[in-house]
């Protein structure tokens, strides 16, 4: 090291370094603008245009409001979403409660089973429910003459599909509690019910709000379930599709898309408030002299909860098992002998197994680029270029995708990338557009996770790096990334799994050779080939389960390699 270097006062960061970091953040902003803000803006404009391109004012909205079937669909969407939330939330709450606040056996098993629906495309429960409760269903007697096609099937399938999302949020909300509150309550001779009502529930209320909002939004924006099991029951999500794909009416599609966007954005804002409160509370609870609450065995509480967990886990496994079984049946319902014929996809569908290859390629690329972009941007926002003037804007764009339903994003992408004046038009119909779309569609959750992971790091790390005159990016590569490697793996798997299972956005965007497996499921179901559709859904589930298992297997290695310092 030279004299002058030793003598120099260590500056926090060299000017070139800072410029580079700001430039990188600018790049993130550019990407998010191109891939999110501009397409959405174009969608907004199209809602006010005539099909010929002239200014329509509010004419499209007036036409919408004057079509009773479209309004009925909006109402159907809202009430099925509300009903699903009401029915499923208590179950999810007590399931999460059992996992965090009770002493039940086989907790890891229940936790694993709870995650199953996340790994499956939403079409899978719908197909399984038709096998169980359809007109030839095994359990159709339980419906007492009612039909599974329509709201009943939608609510039941959505409850399955949304269960893990709600239960995970509630498990986090219930996961941390201050034991002193419970001791105080016991000393004051409060009964168990009273403690539950006055200590447990208030502490979990933001979690409940958040879980309710997430469930409501998921049901509202999901497309696969009403498509498969909705019968002639129209909802908003299928209306967008009908307008765009069936009638090629992009302007009305844009209007319905905006109608779908409104409740989603409202729910998103509500959720943000609830989560902010939740984080604040948790931080407050853990910062002081809080003692973590540890449940002690109590039979009157544990046994009923254990029973509930068994029932719910049984139902979740039952649905997945039914789908798997129905994919193996030779000719439902008249020849129940087992065969692998339904997995010879080329018999049903020109793309055959290649559709699964498309999905894997798309999901892997989305996970690769998505993780790099999400984590890099989160680090720039939190550490690298925290003070940059564009940082708040990037932060806003990064949280926006959570509020945008996949169908709306997909529609915005067609309008944007198929616009004759767009120089990026060559992307239309390629795998790249599917990758970019999935990356943006699932941006927010990994972004928030990355921010949390980075905030846990001591800011002194960058300061130490800077005082040693190591470029910030080198510190990032050598220190930040290795420390956060488990979190980074989590992000990658999250994006991969979601890109594998999504239908809503990609159904507008696939090209002749890039049709993903999830869309193939929809098409096979449309042609009445339910067994083959179930087989493809099970194949998707197989891939995502393998990905999850690989993550668990490598987690040990990564942990040993990069996380040993934590346990010193």
């Amino acid at each position: 090291m030279s004299e002058s270097a030793l003598g120099a006062v260590p500056r926090r960061r060299g000017p070139g370094d800072a410029l580079l970091l700001r430039g990188l953040l600018g790049l993130s902003l550019l990407l998010l603008t191109l891939l999110l803000a501009l397409p959405l803006l174009l969608l907004l404009l199209r809602a006010f245009e005539t099909p010929a391109g002239g200014f329509a004012g509010l004419a499209n909205f007036a036409a919408y409001a004057a079509t009773p079937s479209l309004l009925a669909a909006a109402w159907n969407s809202i009430w099925t979403a509300g009903l699903t939330t009401l029915l499923m939330l208590p179950l999810a709450f007590f399931y999460a409660y059992a996992l965090t606040r009770a002493c039940i056996p086989a907790r890891p098993f229940f936790r694993a089973v709870m995650l199953l629906p996340v790994l499956a495309p939403s079409l899978l429960p719908a197909l399984a429910l038709i096998t169980l409760f359809g007109n030839q269903g095994l359990l159709r007697g339980m419906l007492g003459g009612g039909s599974i096609y329509g709201p009943a099937g939608i609510v039941a399938a959505q409850s399955f599909y949304c269960f893990p999302h709600a239960a995970l949020i509630l498990a986090v909300a219930l996961g941390t509690a201050d034991a002193r509150l419970y001791e105080a309550a016991t000393v004051l001779r409060a009964g168990h019910a009273r403690i539950f009502a006055t200590v447990t529930l208030p502490a979990a209320r933001y979690g409940l709000v958040s879980a309710a909002v997430v469930t409501f939004t998921l049901v509202l924006t999901d497309f696969g379930i009403p498509k498969v099991i909705g019968g002639s029951f129209p909802v908003l999500a299928t209306d967008v599709y009908k307008q765009v794909v069936g009638l090629q009416n992009f302007n009305m599609g844009a209007v319905v898309g905006l109608v779908l966007l409104l409740p989603a954005v409202g729910a998103f804002l509500l959720d943000r408030r609830a989560r902010g409160e939740l984080d604040g509370r948790r931080a407050g609870m853990l910062s002081g002299r809080a003692l973590p609450y540890r449940p002690r065995p109590r039979r009157a509480r544990d046994w009923p909860l254990f029973l509930l967990c068994l029932l719910v886990a049984g139902a979740l496994l039952g649905v997945v098992g039914t789908a798997a079984w129905s994919s193996l049946v030779r000719f439902w319902p008249y020849d129940l002998s087992l065969t692998l014929d339904n997995y010879a996809f080329a018999r049903f569908d020109a793309t055959g197994w290649a559709a699964l290859g498309n999905s894997i390629r798309m999901a892997a690329l989305a996970a690769l680029f998505g993780t790099a972009m999400v984590f890099g941007t989160a680090w720039l926002l939190e550490r690298g270029a925290r003070e940059a003037r564009i940082a708040p804007l990037v932060r806003l764009l990064a949280t926006l995708p959570l509020a945008v339903p996949g169908l709306v994003l997909g529609l915005a992408y067609i309008l944007f990338f198929n616009h004759p004046a767009n120089p990026l038009g060559f992307l239309y119909g390629t795998l790249a557009i599917l990758v970019l779309n999935s990356l943006v569609h699932f941006y927010t959750v990994p972004h928030l996770a990355a921010v949390t992971a980075i905030r846990q790091l001591d800011p002194e790390i960058e300061a130490a790096g800077a005082s040693l005159r190591v470029p910030a990016l080198v510190t990032f590569r050598r220190v930040t990334v290795p420390i956060c490697l488990p979190a980074i793996l989590d992000l990658a798997v999250y994006i991969f799994v979601n890109a594998m299972t999504t239908v809503s956005a990609v159904i507008f965007l696939y090209g002749p050779d890039t049709r993903p497996a999830s869309v193939a499921v929809v098409h096979m179901d449309e042609a009445g080939q339910a067994s083959a559709a179930a087989a493809m859904a099970v194949a998707i589930l197989g891939v995502t389960v393998v990905a999850k298992l690989l993550q668990l297997a490598t987690a040990g290695v990564v942990d040993r390699a990069t996380q040993r310092w934590r346990r010193r």
């Binding site: 030839q136 299928t238 000719f331 569908d349 690769l368 490697l485």
Partner: protein, 346 residues
């Protein structure tokens, strides 16, 4: 240790990226033809293989959807067409496209050998036929026994109140089979009585499905008692052992031709012409005969077994051009009356 793990992780990510990108990087000297089609899914692979084997320098990229969807898409894209050629689309749609000046006039080599009513009457031709198919009723015999349903022999029989909520047919807006069915009713009964008939049938209808296959596929699985579907699907399912009887109504059945036509403004016109030439050959017709009983080329023996022999005598007299000109109006009328019972996406 940290760096080694990092390097390993990075290397595996790179490997993944290479794996993921590899198949896309294959170089192709062949011309990629974008072919829009409404053929059944299982027909695409054999047709692609046969055509690519016969014409070495083309590669077929299918864009497949139900007839109504693919037609709407072709019309919506006509300013900036993405299709080079349509292969296996209803003649109603082809004639509608002809009316919009969307078809490239070209007489495929050997197209004169086709039956006269299976090809365009213009010179040069705008389209060439492949096969004909009808709408038939798939009648699930097991369900019929369970629910005591009578066996319908005519379309009129379907109005029997015993069938309330038991009948399923394809939505004519999305499905070619659905459209040819109502076009057949209009041809057989006359326009006014046909709408009256549909209004009465609507009361017995459980659902209007998206595709023309779904009613029979689901009748075969007992989800519905009776499904109106294209004959080819019905025969295939029956050959697979489904407990269905294929009923060709005696009071006249509608039918449809499928054909090939080159899109005006095709980006690969020469290659499209080669495919249009091949699509009218004897070899191609023999291939169509794997699924359809009535073929455009006279004298080609269809390989498919199990077709009800009587349907050729029961075909209605169909004026394709007149119906094609009114296709949009008929569909609009239909949607205002009956769309409430449609499956999502139509």
């Amino acid at each position: 240790m940290v760096r080694r793990a990092l390097a390993a992780a990075f290397a595996s990510l790179c490997a993944l990226a290479v794996l993921a990108a590899a198949p896309a990087a294959e170089a192709q000297p062949r011309t990629r033809l974008t072919v829009y089609t409404a053929l059944e899914n299982e027909q695409l692979q054999p047709l692609k293989q046969a055509a690519e084997a016969a014409i070495r320098d083309i590669e077929i990229a299918w864009v497949r959807d139900s007839t109504g969807i693919i037609t709407a898409r072709l019309i919506a894209e006509r300013q900036n067409p993405r299709a080079d050629i349509v292969w296996g689309v209803s003649v109603f749609s082809l004639l509608q496209m002809e009316g919009l000046e969307m078809l490239e006039p070209y007489t495929p080599r050997g197209a004169e050998a086709l039956r006269p009513n299976f090809r365009s009457d213009r010179s040069p031709m705008t389209w060439a036929g492949m096969d004909a198919f009808v709408a038939a009723i798939c009648y699930n015999t097991i369900i019929a026994q369970q629910r005591g349903l009578p066996r319908p022999a005519t379309w009129a029989d379907l109005l029997n109140p015993a069938f309330r909520g038991q009948v399923v047919m394809p939505n004519p807006a999305s499905s070619g089979t659905g459209f040819l069915t109502i076009a057949g009713w209009i041809a057989a009964m006359g326009e006014g009585p046909a709408w009256d008939y549909m209004a009465k049938l609507h009361a017995n209808m459980q659902l209007y499905t998206h595709s023309g296959s779904a009613p029979c596929s689901n009748a075969a699985r007992g989800e519905y008692g009776l499904g109106i579907s294209l004959d080819m699907r019905a025969v295939t399912l029956k050959n697979q052992g489904a407990p269905i009887e294929i009923i060709v109504p005696t009071d006249g059945v509608g039918f449809d031709l499928e054909g090939t036509a080159i899109h005006r403004g095709a980006r690969n016109l020469e290659a499209a012409k080669k495919l249009a030439d091949w699509a009218v050959t004897r070899a191609a017709n023999e291939l169509y005969g794997r699924w359809y009983a009535v073929l455009a080329m006279p004298g080609v023996q269809p390989a498919i077994r199990g077709y009800p022999p009587e349907f050729e005598q029961r075909l209605v007299k169909q004026d394709f051009r007149a119906v094609a000109a009114r296709r949009d109006a008929i569909l609009r009328d239909w949607a205002t009356r009956f769309d409430g019972k449609s499956a999502p996406r139509n």
